[in-house]
Symmetry: C2
Subunit: 304 residues, 2 copies
C-alpha cells in the first residue's frame, strides 16, 4: 500500500492516519469539518485535502449511520481503488450501502478494536490499535484485492486482522462493548439522584464501572441505534438476572424464616460467583486469542 | 492513642495495623485464623496475639454479619477500652449489637472508604486509606471518648473522618458502591454466555466495567445481604431505566415510522447524556468534599 485516504479525522481516523504515515504511506485527510482535517495534518497525520489520483485504499472513519452515504459519495468521486470503514457496527452499514447502490465489490467492512474516552484528532495515538483485533467483514461481493488491502491496513497499524460475518461481529460487540457501555451509562445516571454527601463516599470502583459512560453521547446514540436488536437481546437477559437479585435482596430485607433467607443468600452468592467466572473469561490484552486471518478467512461464514 | 488491637487481619485490618505501627502505636493482631495474624505480624503490622491489659481501641475488621458477635466476645474479654469496626454496612451491625447486649457506650461504627480487588493480609498497604473518607456512625449511647479514639484512628491512617447517621451511610454506599458492585457482577456473568471468539473482541472498557466483579463472593454476599433494602431500592430504579432503553432499542429494531424512531433515539440519547452528567458528579479523589468532623458532629442525625 502506497497511498491512502482517511475520511473523518476524529480519534479513530487520525490514529489510523498517524500509523500509516509512520509506515511511509502517503495519506490524505478528509473531513466534513475542514478544521478537523487541518488539525490532523498539523499533528503529522498526512495531507489535508483530496488526492488528485485515486489512492489504494480509503478508510471511512465515520459513525455507523454515515458509512453508506460516505461510501456512495467517495466512490462516485473515485477517491480510492478500494474502500473500508472503521465503524463499530457492521450489518446495518453493509445493508445501507447495498440499498444506496454502492460498488460492493470494492468495499469491505472493518472495525479496529481500540478507543479512548477522549474523542477528536487531538486524542489520537499512532499505537491505538497495537496488538488489538481488527475485524474485517467481507460480503459475498467483496473482491479479494479489497480484503487484502484492508488486511494490510490493519497490519500497518500493528493490529491483528480477524475475519467475521457481519451479524457475528455485531452480536460480539453487543456483548463485550455496546451493552456494557449502556449499563455503565445507566449506572452513572443514577448518581444524579444522589446527594453530594453520598457521592463524597465514592471510590475507585465507581470511577472504573462508570468510565465508559463518559463517551460521546452523539456517537454512542448512533452506535447503539445501529446495533439495536443485538444490544436489546443482551440487556433483556441482563434484566432477567437483575430482577432475580432484586427479588432476593427484597426477600432478605423482609423475610425472617431461615430456610427462605438461605435460598435468597444462595442466589446472591451464585450471582457473584458467576460474575467472577465471567470476568475470568476476558482474554488478557497482550494475548487475546482469536482466529488468524489466513485460517479464519476460508472458514468464516459470509454474507451481510 | 498508645495501643490498639485489630480483630480480623485481612486486607482492611492489616492495612489499618500497618498504618498504626508506622505511627508508633503498639498494635495487637487477632484473627480466628492464627496463620493470618502471624502473616500480618511478619509483614510488620504488629504483635500476633492478645494484649495482657486492655488497649485503648480495638478495631473489628470483620464482615458486617460478624461485627456484633465479635464485639460481644471481645468486650466480655476486656480487649479494649473502646471499640469500633470497619464494616461496609452500619445499621444492621448496630442493631445486632444492641440485641446481643453489647456495651454500646463504648462502641462507635466506622467505615474506612478504601479497598482493593485483592484480599488478605498480603494485599495490605499502610496508605490504603490515605486521603479517603472514614465514616463514623455514633449512636445516641456512644460516649464521647469512643468517638474521639475512632477519629484519632482515622487520622493516624491518613483518612478524613466524616460523621453520618447509620441509615444515611448505608443509603450512600448502596448508591456508590454496593449497587455498582452487583451490576458489575451481573454484567460479567453475561460473559459466560459468550463464545470465546466473541470475547476475543473485548477491550479495556469491558475490563474497567467488570473490575468490581472480581471481588470476594463470600465477603460481598455478606455486605449485600446486610444492606439488602437500600441496594434493592437503587437497583429497582436502575431496572426501570433499563427497561426504557431496552424498549427504545426494540423499537429502533422494528419500527420504520420516522417520528417514532426519533422518539426512541431521543430516549437513548437522553440516557447517555444523563450518564455523562452523573459521572461528572463523582468527586475527584484528592479533593473529595464532605463534612468536616468537628462541624458535622453536632449537626449529624443520631441513632441507629
Amino acid at each position: 500500500m502506497r497511498s491512502a485516504a482517511v475520511v473523518g479525522t476524529g480519534l479513530i481516523g487520525t490514529s489510523i492516519a498517524l500509523a500509516l504515515r509512520g509506515r511511509g504511506v502517503t495519506t490524505y485527510l478528509i473531513d466534513t469539518n475542514p478544521e478537523a482535517a487541518r488539525i490532523a495534518a498539523d499533528l503529522g497525520a498526512g495531507i489535508a485535502g483530496r488526492p488528485r489520483v485515486p489512492v489504494d485504499l480509503a478508510v471511512l472513519a465515520v459513525p455507523p449511520q454515515h458509512v453508506a452515504a460516505a461510501l456512495k459519495e467517495h466512490q462516485s468521486q473515485d477517491l480510492a481503488h478500494d474502500f473500508t470503514d472503521a465503524a463499530s457496527v457492521k450489518e446495518l452499514p453493509q445493508r445501507q450501502a447495498a440499498r444506496a447502490g454502492c460498488d460492493l465489490t470494492r468495499f469491505v467492512g472493518g472495525h479496529p478494536m481500540g478507543g479512548r474516552e477522549q474523542s477528536g484528532p487531538l486524542a489520537a495515538k499512532d499505537d491505538l490499535f497495537q496488538g488489538r483485533p481488527w475485524v474485517l467483514t467481507p460480503s459475498p461481493e467483496t473482491r479479494v484485492q479489497a480484503v487484502e488491502r484492508a488486511r494490510r491496513l490493519a497490519e500497518l497499524c500493528g493490529a491483528r486482522p480477524v475475519v467475521m460475518a457481519h451479524a457475528e461481529h455485531d452480536r460480539a460487540v453487543a456483548l463485550t462493548s455496546h451493552a456494557p457501555h449502556l449499563v455503565s451509562s445507566l449506572l452513572a445516571a443514577r448518581l444524579l439522584h444522589g446527594e453530594q454527601t453520598q457521592l463524597g463516599l465514592a471510590g475507585q470502583g465507581l470511577q472504573d464501572v462508570t468510565r465508559l459512560a463518559a463517551g460521546s453521547a452523539e456517537l454512542w446514540t448512533d452506535i447503539l441505534g445501529s446495533n439495536a436488536v443485538a444490544v436489546a437481546d443482551v440487556l433483556a437477559e441482563f434484566a432477567l438476572d437483575l430482577h432475580q437479585v432484586v427479588d432476593a435482596l427484597r426477600g432478605l430485607g423482609t423475610v425472617r424464616e431461615p430456610e427462605q433467607r438461605r435460598a435468597h443468600t444462595e442466589l446472591l452468592s451464585t450471582a457473584l460467583v458467576r460474575g467472577i467466572q465471567g470476568r475470568a473469561r476476558i482474554p488478557a490484552r497482550s494475548t487475546t486469542p482469536g482466529p488468524n486471518m489466513s485460517t479464519a478467512f476460508a472458514a468464516a461464514p459470509r454474507g451481510a
